[in-house]
Symmetry: C3
């Protein structure tokens, strides 16, 4: 995307930062420290990247107050306390999103009784089932399939290749990325006479207002009752949300996470990448599951758990540290045995072992 041009004074004003350098310095977009050129704003927000300051060719810097001392003394800059909100504001101004005209492409297949709000855009080859309702200003990408009886709120964006099964409920201000599946059947069978018989999956899949779901993530419908992705929940790519899971408002779920059936996750919890949880658990409000951990028991609100099976994070760290000390422990036991002449099982001192 080609950025617009902003002056250093504009930049300072937009993010409420302290300006050092020529106010009318013109900057065309921003970039990471090691990629920014002389016409761009580079930014330094993490101590890890201080080492890249030396080689940077950026024309000016956005920097956190904590790291300002690492910049060249006279470098033009804007200094802020919290860099990420500032970055967000600047990116929106440097790279304004281009609106495409609202229109239903002539190749779109519309079912009977479909109701479309004002300013809806539907891209080529989308297939909209009977009785679907779409709110104002929503965009449905190319090739999306929205099953019969589904509803989609306002200002929601379905990127290309989203499939919503029949009866899906998708709120307003939602973003669904390419390949998201909403309302697929849950994994439910019962064994009768040695054969797996499918449990009918008749519940709903609900994605509440403000949620965003990453590419190729799957959200199964409820078996009976609902699967719910709550308000303002953010889910990364390739995540599995099984039937009857409920994810509370504001929870963040990183990539490749798997949540098994009927597990309930509270509000504003955090699940790191590749974490997973078995079924029928409660994970409390504000709980944190670290990267790669496997939850097999309820997690209390506010707790941080780690490992496989996940335990309180400190306990996990201590066990990991002790694992590293096992070789030494073994040597110490051998030394004790030698001192006492207490044999090991096959040693002569304990022949009966």
């Amino acid at each position: 995307m080609r950025p617009v041009t902003l002056s250093l004074a504009d930049i300072a004003a937009l993010c409420g930062g302290r300006l050092i350098g020529p106010p009318d310095l013109a900057l065309r977009g921003m970039a990471p420290l090691d990629e920014a050129g002389p016409e761009q704003l580079g930014f330094l927000a993490l101590r890890r990247y201080v080492r890249m300051v030396e080689g940077s060719r950026a024309g000016a810097y956005l920097v956190s107050a904590a790291l300002e001392e690492h910049l060249p003394r006279n470098a033009p800059r804007v200094v802020v306390d919290e860099p990420y909100p500032a970055v967000r504001v600047l990116l929106e101004r440097f790279f304004p999103s281009a609106d495409q005209p609202a229109a239903v492409h002539p190749t779109v297949v519309l079912g009977r009784g479909v109701r479309l709000g004002r300013g809806v855009r539907i891209d080529p080859y989308a297939v909209i089932g009977d009785e679907v309702v779409v709110g104002d200003g929503t965009v449905v990408g190319a090739h999306c399939v929205v099953g019969a009886g589904s509803s989609i709120g306002s200002r929601t964006r379905l990127h290309p290749h989203v499939v919503a099964y029949a009866g899906a409920v998708i709120g307003s201000d939602v973003v669904l990325h390419a390949g998201v599946r909403i309302g697929s059947d849950g994994f439910g069978y019962t064994t009768v006479d040695g054969e797996h018989r499918k449990m009918p999956q008749v519940g709903r899949a609900i994605v509440e207002d403000g949620a965003e779901i990453g590419a190729n993530t799957t959200v199964d419908r409820g078996s009976l009752g609902d699967t719910v992705v709550g308000r303002d929940v953010k889910i990364d790519n390739l995540v599995q949300i099984a039937h009857n899971v409920r994810v509370g408002a504001g929870t963040l779920i990183a990539a490749l996470v798997g949540i098994a059936g009927s597990t309930r996750i509270g509000r504003r919890a955090w699940l790191g990448g590749r974490a997973s949880a078995i079924n029928h658990l409660d994970i409390g409000d504000g709980a944190r599951v670290t990267f790669g951990s496997t939850v097999t028991r309820d997690v209390d609100p506010g707790d941080t758990v780690s490992g496989y099976p996940a335990r309180p994070h400190r306990e996990h760290l201590r066990a990991q540290a002790l694992l590293g000390r096992l070789p030494k422990l073994l040597e110490r036991v051998e030394r004790l045995e030698a001192a006492l002449a207490v044999g090991r099982p096959r040693g002569p001192a304990s022949p009966g072992d």
Copy 2:
């Protein structure tokens, strides 16, 4: 979905249960205990949910004999020994599936020599390659792509957005969910003069009768020879089945599982969510791999394995329990050392260490 109405007597008859309460009580569908309203049948099958009985507003209950005592004394109910088969039967009756008319949508692209059985339905924008054969009563969803020379049996259902590469073999009574990929190339390269050269992937991908495969799951074709998903195998979402894997009849594979190339899984095995297995292994009939475990050696028939690397389940549990006892063990060794005045490596008692 809007349910039909059944009487309590109908319900008892359908699932062979014991009726307590008014036989003509009308119920409109069923729901989990905490969601069922006064016109609905709530159900209680797991001890975990007994705590929800108190707040339940259900008009009547389906309950297992083992948990009946937890219901209010006079609550209308149907009591069964095994609740899940009963739930399955009732769901099929409460929520009968609506048949859509068999038809090939005018936008479908049909290749040369395609043979379609009777009562086939093909939804908008599907692309069917040359010489494809489709059996009676099969449904191919919107946007599916079925590669040249593939065959699909009877009464099979491809949900929207399934891709079958050329030459795929899909049986009868199969269900493939949205985003399933059948017959993609396996991950096979050989390094010649320092460059990765692709091994041609010329084998087949075969999905046998009665299998069901979840959303966005991938099944690679054989490199040479076949990849086989056996009869009545059930696979959840986001699973990877690599080239030349063979999954025996009736095996269940939960979400996010990864099976590496040429591994053979027996009949009626069970792989829990996010389990994985490296390549060229044999996992025997009826073996069980628990949630999140990583199999790196052959598993004997009927064995249950856990952990990373996966070991016999009991051994794994014992090792996990001992891990938790390590801090105490360390203290005990320290106490022994103190009693014996045997120093640690840097202690004065063993200066030569």
Copy 3:
């Protein structure tokens, strides 16, 4: 696929092998040892499959010199030092790929200013955005969506159902399998007044020449700056490459791997199936991360790491072995305590514990 027929002499010549048996023996394709029939070439490259020699019905064998002794004494065969490069060459000859005619299907939706090279094939229902550039001889599969301003090199193949978001940069000789998503938004939010606000994702996703990416894999665009999949990188199915990740040339990444944001992987590294790495790490050239491991710290060039958290492979193996010895270690400590009459915490000998 139906193979062509080659003589045993052809086969020996094609792979530079030593011929034993009738030179004019006609063989119709090749197959694994246990599937090859009397008209086919079976092959034996791994010791693991020696046990299958006895039941094999293959008409002739391709065998590595190291395993030749396990074949029946007079079996017709071609003997090579390195079997896999030979297999590759033979497969290309037995199963030549059929070229389909270059053409843009009439249902393809082309945006304004699209530039197509010579010999481009675009299959039904693909949607190509404004200003997209496609190089000579490239194939775009059915239903692919290529966002505005993207570029695709020459001789590249997009299988059906690939989505490239706007501005994607895809090189020459690239293969993208069904369901690949290139350039989806990264998982980036900043919390303002207790609400998650999306960080605009304005960087690019770049796939360099010769890369191959497996089915349903996702590659996010850079947040700011680029995400790069380097030259000749091979990625398997269901992998997550987060925003601003850089994967160096020739690196191999197996299925279900997850690489978190801004992590840099060197050249010719190897990540086993289901491995993962947290964000902002450096994984050096030639590093190896074993199957299922979780990397939480930088990995030096050439190192092999294992486990969760990943440690040097040998250290990991030693810790795993010691874990198995813990029960014995416990017994030994108990024996020492008995010999010394040093009690455990609740024993009478140390009442003050």
